[in-house]
């Protein structure tokens, strides 16, 4: 893959609405990491050189100009063919709500909607998403900041601990309810079995989905 520096603060994008105020957690962490980890840069370079012997990374990467429709807005990007939708969303559009967990389609943290269907963005090339409608966790809330009923239900039911899997859980939960697969707890559990939660918040996640479903139906 194209190697991106982990300096998310430089990837500011108008696509990613920021909360108000002059401080947020991500910028604080990114700044701290940059200054604290400088001495490790040489080691990291050594590791990359060793990795290159196994899986050579080309020096010239053919770029491809493409247009992605994300959360109702169109974005033109120039991307390596190999860029997944996950990396395009995070590294090029700054949509950090989409999480990279396993990067192999096993954990569900990267779940987004593609034309309304829950999809693993880590196993989808960005090029494949051209001409299709991408929705991420950032696209669920209303313009005035009112949370989607599923987002609110996750808060009300304490449906997470560390929160890393939560955006993917919520994207799956929205599709679960909209598709009519949330009538019974067992059905919710089966539908959402592709979203792993290492904190094991499953009982509260099921309760949140059940509650959100009732609210959306009423």
């Amino acid at each position: 893959m194209v190697r991106h520096q982990p300096q998310e603060s430089k990837k500011r994008s108008d696509a990613a609405p920021r909360s108000g105020g002059g401080f947020d957690r991500r910028h604080f962490l990114a700044g701290t990491a940059t200054s604290a980890l400088l001495p490790l840069a040489f080691e990291a370079a050594g590791v990359r050189a060793a990795a290159a012997d196994i899986s050579p990374t080309p020096t010239e990467v053919p770029g491809r100009s493409l247009e992605l429709l994300v959360n109702g807005r169109s974005h033109r990007l120039t991307l390596d063919h190999r860029t997944t939708l996950l990396d395009a969303l995070r590294e090029h559009l700054g949509l950090m709500g989409v999480k990279k967990g396993c990067d192999h389609g096993q954990c569900g943290a990267c779940t987004v909607h593609l034309d309304g269907r829950s999809t693993l963005s880590c196993l989808t090339l960005a090029a494949v998403a051209v001409g299709r409608e991408v929705t991420t966790i950032e696209g669920l809330a209303q313009a005035d900041g009112t949370l989607h009923p599923v987002q609110q239900a996750f808060i009300d039911h304490d449906a997470f601990q560390c929160g890393y899997c939560t955006p993917g859980q919520i994207m799956s939960a929205v599709a679960c309810i909209e598709g009519g697969h949330a009538d019974r707890d067992a059905e919710i559990r089966e539908y959402m079995s592709g979203n792993l939660c290492r904190c094991a918040a499953y009982p509260n996640i099921v309760a949140a989905v059940r509650a959100a479903k009732s609210q959306l139906r009423s």
Binding site: D80, G105, L120, L125, R189, G194
Partner: protein, 330 residues
Amino acid sequence: MRPFAYERADSPETARAAAGAGGATSSFLAGGTTLIDLMKLDVMRPQRVIDINGIGETQIDLADDRLRLGASVRMTDAERHADLRRRLPMLTQSLALAASTQIRNMATLGGNVLQRTRCPYFRDVSWSACNKRAPGSGCAALDGFNRQHAVLGTSEACIATYPGDFAQALIALDATVEILGRAGRRQIPFSELHVQPGQTPDVETTLAPGELILGFAMPVEPWFSRSLYLKIRDRQSYEFALASAAVALDLAGGAIRQARIALGGVATVPWRAREAEQALIGRAADEATFQLAADIAFSEARPLRHNAFKPALGRQTVVRALLQAAAMET
């Protein structure tokens, strides 16, 4: 991931032509759930990726006595088809139990039957010995941790399990595969699509390079409504089969007129237990009969160090599946 040339095909014909051109190794990209995963792992290294999303057949045509499924139908779309669920429960269950919702939303039927094995020695390139990945290099699984590996259709060169579920339904239902090749369209029985590893485990199907699956067709008998897919695994959902059985029973007054049995999770290819089926014909649909069929189905099983439980688990899976099918109200 290694670099590749990417192109989007605008028809099955242009996709096939692109895949056959220039001598470069090509892969078709549909759902991507196997291909992108294995490209990231450096197991698959296509020089050209031909995107076939948006082309190909997406129809499900269910007539009185026939079914045709387009290869570009997504798994969830087929499994939620109400008439299919009623008339071919084995088929829709095999799809619904196959993987997570997201993966089934993405994966196409055509791509699903070509899913690659989950053998960890195949998927991890730091193991040098894998005859499937690197012909002639040996098989690390033979003396390795082989709990999930096959007991039927194995060879001394490869014991990798065929991982899919839908293929068991297709082989049990006598499906045919329609293929677009260099000379145009051709049809083969689904049972002739996959080949056992023998001495060439790298050859997994009878598809020529660049050939594209267009769809699947099968006869639909009234008695297929008495069918099911039973999948036994380490966890209740989102897991590969340790053993599975696709079964259908044609009953008349408590006796068996016809039967279909296919096995998953235990064989190197989608596995039809034809001799076990034959043994059922004319007998009473009871546990003793089903045990007899199960014994026949696994009579040639060759277990290894860690998968010695599989013949017993497989037999019990067959018996339970047949008992459940016999008890179905159709």
